[in-house]
């Protein structure tokens, strides 16, 4: 196997409210000898809101982002579930509708770009599972997480709609009983926690317009993981992370129970198992403190 190389679409949060996600992504890429070419030209994906206002603009902008990955001749990896859904959805719609693709390309032509449909779009989680391999990762673990019960929190936009999501990676995932993140936890030497909310919604997308709904969903998720005896949670999505990490006050009030658990990014968990330091993984950037590493 040659060196793995991807075009990295960081999304907006990794550069702002979750700096630890950016740090840990780069830290584990180095450990795993994966080359990530950052798409510095990329714009925001619209975060599942822009298309409510302007669907065509959302398509054009996402197509532009993919076009840059195509220019590099690389698969695009995302590190945010919502970036993944919006980008993969754009790709799916353009690849299956020649007329729409032509309309989008008419716009991209104005800036000298073209969307061809030649690059895959996959989440870093699946790139690691499909291309790097969990067996190989397991061999590289120097600090197995064997003393921890870890609750996987999958995040909606990586597993649903499953028909679309399963086009973006090789290892099939069931949205009702997903296993990728559990498998990753096991590869890192940890114990997985099974709980009802692991494939449920964190409420992030209505935090502003429906704060009570959002807070109850967050609270239920942390409470479910706590009742499953979790020491901490892990997620591939920075938006889920933000919700579960920073909103415990509102969540506790909404469900009438004090809840708080450290919530690690998938990259941080891998980094811990590979022996990265707390500073390399940005563990000080968590609002709910990570008190074990």
């Amino acid at each position: 196997m040659g060196k793995l190389k991807y075009a990295l679409f960081t999304g907006c949060t990794a550069k702002q409210s979750t700096p630890e996600q950016m740090l840990s992504t780069m830290a584990i890429a180095e450990k795993l000898d994966i080359e990530l070419v950052e798409l510095t030209e990329a714009s925001c994906c619209g975060a599942s809101h822009l298309q409510d206002y302007d669907d065509f603009l959302s398509l054009v902008l996402n197509a532009r982002n993919i076009a840059y990955a195509e220019k590099h001749g690389l698969t695009m990896v995302t590190i945010c579930n919502t970036c993944q859904l919006n980008t993969a959805m754009t790709k799916h719609r353009l690849d299956n509708n020649a007329d729409l693709k032509a309309r989008v390309n008419e716009k991209l032509e104005e800036v000298g770009l073209e969307y061809k449909g030649t690059s895959m779009v996959t989440h870093f989680l699946y790139a690691i599972i499909d291309d790097f391999g969990l067996d190989k990762l397991k061999e590289m673990v120097v600090k197995p997480l064997s003393q921890f019960n870890i609750a996987p929190f999958y995040g909606c936009h990586n597993i649903r709609p499953s028909e679309l999501q399963n086009e973006t990676h090789k290892t099939p995932e069931s949205s009702y009983n997903p296993s990728s993140l559990d498998d990753l936890i096991i590869a890192c030497g940890g114990q997985t926690v099974d709980y009802e909310e692991k494939n449920k919604c964190c409420g992030f997308h209505v935090e502003l317009q429906a704060p009570h709904t959002a807070a109850v969903l967050t609270g239920n998720a942390i409470a479910g993981a706590t009742d499953g005896n979790a020491d901490w949670m892990v997620t591939p999505c920075p938006l889920c992370h933000l919700k579960l990490d920073t909103q415990t006050g509102h969540a506790s009030k909404a469900i009438g129970r004090d809840v708080a658990l450290p919530v690690l990014h998938m990259q941080q968990m891998i980094g811990l198992a590979l022996g990265c330091s707390s500073a390399e993984l940005g563990l000080k950037h968590h609002v709910t403190e990570v008190d074990f590493a």
Binding site: K15, E41, A42, L50, L61, S174, A210
Partner: protein, 325 residues
């Protein structure tokens, strides 16, 4: 190729409850040899016919058309008559939990009070509202293109699978829910319908309307007829803007705010987006923002990133925008 039928042993944990007699629900276990040909409804029948005649559930057509037999298997909403046992075992293993669509609305075993579903359905005026000339001079033709605009919303069989899978329904009892929204779209997209603005105004209301959808995609995932309710909710959002009905509130400004922010920097300015969406109400976010700030989770304006080749993005926002607010 010869078709072989395989059998396997499956443990069923079945929800039992009789609202007239039981204080609390309980679960009954059944171990059965099931064949690869059977669907979940066959198991419900076998429980009733072979084990306990009092076991109750709704069924009728057995062909995925009537929508009566929707239940949950291991938490997944599904049509019992359409769901193959093999697929369920493949997904969940050989321990299957059979429950009604909503445990809190259970009347007897799988039978629930679906009153809330029908209330929401009725509330969106689920019929064609049209001023039809009693003596028309020509037929009211709908072209195939116009019919296609319904986007399969008319395929809904009102089974309730999405309604009881939607996490918002559990929390916000005013929310119309995915089935009602898909139904509303079915009429909103119908060229013969004249009610557009009236119906859209109700869908635009906070708490009950489309803006409270959490975008979890559960409804699209469970729908046995591929109606894609979340896709219809997105279209309704777009219609609200297109018809000029979307009034300025935190939800609409949030959607528009992305276009603004992208036009400015390519990437999002998170703080500015919240300010744009909330206006003066942003003060309520201060306590969390302070905590985030101390942890280095808030990017200062002077460090705010920008996309490279921003001029391209700005040009595209100008030339490709199709909506106005």
């Amino acid at each position: 190729m010869e078709h072989t039928i395989t059998t396997q042993e499956v443990n069923f944990k079945v929800f039992r409850f009789n609202a007239d007699e039981d204080y609390l629900p309980y679960y009954e276990d059944y171990k059965m040899e099931v064949t690869s040909e059977e669907v979940v409804l066959d198991i419900l029948n076998r429980i009733k016919w072979d084990h306990d005649g009092s076991f109750s559930y709704r069924r009728s057509c057995r062909h995925g058309i009537c929508g009566t037999c929707a239940i949950k298997v291991n938490g997944r909403s599904t049509l019992a008559c359409k769901e193959s046992l093999n697929d369920m075992v493949e997904t969940f293993g050989s321990d299957l939990v059979i429950e009604p669509l909503s445990k809190k609305r259970a009347i007897k075993d799988m039978i629930i009070d679906k009153g809330d579903f029908w209330e929401k359905n009725d509330a969106i005026h689920p019929f064609l509202i049209s001023h039809i000339d009693e003596h028309p001079e020509m037929e009211c033709a709908v072209t195939p293109e116009q019919a296609n605009a319904l986007n399969d919303a008319d395929l809904c069989i009102q089974c309730g699978a999405c309604h009881y899978a939607c996490p918002v329904m559990e929390i916000n009892e005013d929310f119309f829910g995915p089935a009602a929204f898909a139904k509303a779209y079915r009429f909103e997209a119908d060229v013969r319908d004249d009610a557009h603005t009236t119906r859209l105004l109700e869908l635009n209301e906070e708490k009950q309307g489309v803006w409270d959808c959490v975008k979890c995609m559960e409804c699209a995932e469970v729908c046995p007829k591929d109606v894609d309710p979340i896709g219809k909710i997105t279209k309704l959002h777009q219609m609200l803007f297109a018809e000029g009905v979307a009034k300025s509130n935190v939800a609409t400004r949030h959607a528009v705010g992305f276009a603004h922010s992208i036009a400015k920097r390519g990437v999002l300015d998170e703080g500015e987006l919240v300010l744009y969406s909330e206006g003066p109400a942003i003060v309520k976010h201060v306590p969390v923002a302070v905590k985030m700030l101390t942890k280095g989770k808030i990017c200062m304006p002077w460090n705010m990133p920008k996309s490279d080749n921003l001029d391209e993005i700005q040009k595209l926002v100008k030339s490709s925008s199709t909506a106005k607010f």
